[in-house]
């Protein structure tokens, strides 16, 4: 459902992504872990077609982001890190606009809007302007907009940012429910966050993918070494300069 092949991206002389490759299948939740500045948001901007691909290839839901960007956009739900919303719009009108921009109207739009409003618990702010909403509500509005067109691919960049602990727990359960039939890629710089939701962990450090393993396998390795997940991840970060062997084949010693 998501296929990233040898993607490299530069901002001028600075390399943001360096030969990144991975796949995410339908029904899989992949968590992107990495410190700030690791290149996670750049990768999400490439996946969402916002940034043009400089090198390598990206395919989502069977469509190439360069050759068929509109087909890709029609099939992704994207929640960017800074969650851009039209502050001057009412929440209900904003959701209706996003639905209409995805070609929904009439009963289909009404049913989807009703569902996202209920699931994202937006009823109490529906007639408020976005600018009047708290950070937590804004995050939920962004998530509702990402879901309104029932996308087969979900791209969530730091989705729990701004949510309180109860909302975070609720969000994790919600993402789990959304997974069947969908490929979900989300990012965080918090290991516990990624480990709590993901089937698979991908670790990005300074633009390089230094770890790509199923969570269960990573946990088994940690148990075998009597270490914690955090220990293994920190070790991978430290060894990232010579980490080629860690990628794919799980070279965590």
């Amino acid at each position: 459902m998501i296929r990233v092949t040898d993607v490299t991206h530069d901002y001028g002389a600075e390399r943001a992504l360096d030969g990144v490759s991975f796949d995410v299948r339908a029904g899989e939740i992949a968590g992107f872990l990495g410190p700030n500045g690791a290149g996670k948001s750049t990768l999400f901007k490439l996946l969402s077609t916002y940034l043009p691909v400089q090198s390598g290839s990206i395919e989502l839901a069977g469509f190439d982001v360069v050759k068929a960007p509109l087909e890709v956009r029609a099939r992704i739900g994207y929640l960017p890190e800074h969650n851009p919303l039209f502050d001057g719009m009412r929440v209900d009108r904003f959701l209706a606009f996003v639905g209409a921009a995805h070609g929904l109207d009439g009963a289909e739009l009404a049913a989807r809007a009703e569902w996202v409003v209920e699931r994202c618990d937006l009823r109490s702010v529906l007639t408020k302007h976005v600018r009047e909403c708290s950070k937590g509500f804004r995050q939920r509005i962004g998530l509702a907009a990402a879901l309104i067109h029932d996308p087969p691919v979900l791209l969530l960049d730091e989705p729990t940012h701004g949510l309180d602990p109860l909302q975070v727990a609720s969000f994790r359960a919600f993402v789990r429910e959304l997974a069947p039939g969908r490929a979900i890629l989300f990012s965080s710089h918090v290991l516990a966050e990624v480990a709590a939701i993901s089937d698979r962990i991908l670790l990005l450090v300074r633009g390089r993918l230094v770890l790509d393993l199923p969570l269960a396998e990573l946990e088994a390795r940690a148990r075998a070494r009597r270490a914690t997940l955090e220990d293994l991840v920190l070790e991978a970060v430290r060894d990232s300069a010579a980490s080629d062997s860690l990628v794919r084949e799980g070279g965590v010693p």
Partner: protein, 264 residues
């Protein structure tokens, strides 16, 4: 996140659907109009412009004692120099500042649909301004029988001139994330284009190099003022309509290119 409702998943035929070309533009227009009339700047600009044009007109009307709208149409281009940039400055600048530009560019809409939708939304506001001046026409009709055909031609010219300057302002709004800079650039450029068509400016430029005839050439090629003047005089020419449409289209095309490049 509430756990009650089951996901009303869309049929496979609907998943991944994109809006048709016109439906996509309509969605953008509706969003933009919602934004326009939610922001006090649009109301303030419209109210000030209506007050200024009505005051000027009534002043000149009572001095000249003529039953026509010429004083209104003569002043209008210079009202546009401030009004149109005020309307256009936030069209893109606001998106660039608030980073909603990323939202626009990741929806399944082409940049052309977004640019046209934003433009049509701004045109509706411009049309609302012109409609707000219609009580002046009603006032004239209560006093006698003004030449309504000529007045209609004047309004057509006023709309075309506004539409052209709006396209220019929208382009500049895409170039400058700072709305104030976009406003100033748009106001200065609009003033230069209009001034190039003023007879006094043409005479001065022609006087500087009589052999070149640069002033007249500049007015004929670049300035919307002579063509607008023909409309106000009651002459609706197809060539002038096409000129306004073509120049507005050129600005909008450039706007599409700027929006595409702004992604990288």
């Amino acid at each position: 996140m509430d756990r009650a409702a089951a996901d009303p998943q869309l049929p496979a035929s609907v998943r991944g659907r994109k809006p048709r070309f016109v439906a996509g533009i309509r969605a953008v227009v509706q969003r933009e109009l919602g934004g326009w009339f939610d922001a006090p700047v649009a109301w303030i600009a419209l109210a000030l412009a209506l007050f200024a044009t009505s005051s000027w007109f009534l002043n000149e009307f009572f001095l000249a004692n003529r039953l026509d709208l010429a004083p209104f149409f003569d002043r209008l281009p210079w009202v546009y120099v401030l009004l149109v940039p005020a309307l256009a400055m936030r069209v893109w600048s606001e998106d660039l500042r608030a980073r909603t530009f990323e939202l626009w560019m990741t929806l399944p809409l082409t940049p052309l649909q977004v640019v046209l939708g934003k433009y049509v939304g701004a045109l509706v506001v411009l049309a609302a301004f012109l409609a707000g001046t219609l009580p002046i026409v009603a006032f004239l009709c209560t006093l006698g029988s003004p030449d309504l055909g000529r007045i209609a031609a004047g309004y057509a010219g006023a709309f075309l001139l506004g539409a052209q300057l709006l396209a220019l302002g929208q382009l500049l709004s895409a170039l400058f994330a700072d709305a104030l800079v976009a406003f100033l650039a748009s106001a200065v450029l609009s003033a230069v284009l209009l001034a190039a068509g003023e007879e006094r400016v043409v005479a001065v430029l022609d006087g500087l190099a009589p052999a070149l005839g640069g002033g007249r050439a500049l007015a004929d090629v670049l300035s919307p003022l002579p063509r607008y003047g023909a409309f106000v005089g009651g002459s609706v020419g197809l060539a002038a309509v096409l000129w306004f449409a073509a120049t507005a289209a050129a600005f909008l095309w450039a706007n599409v290119r700027v929006a595409e490049r702004a992604r990288s």
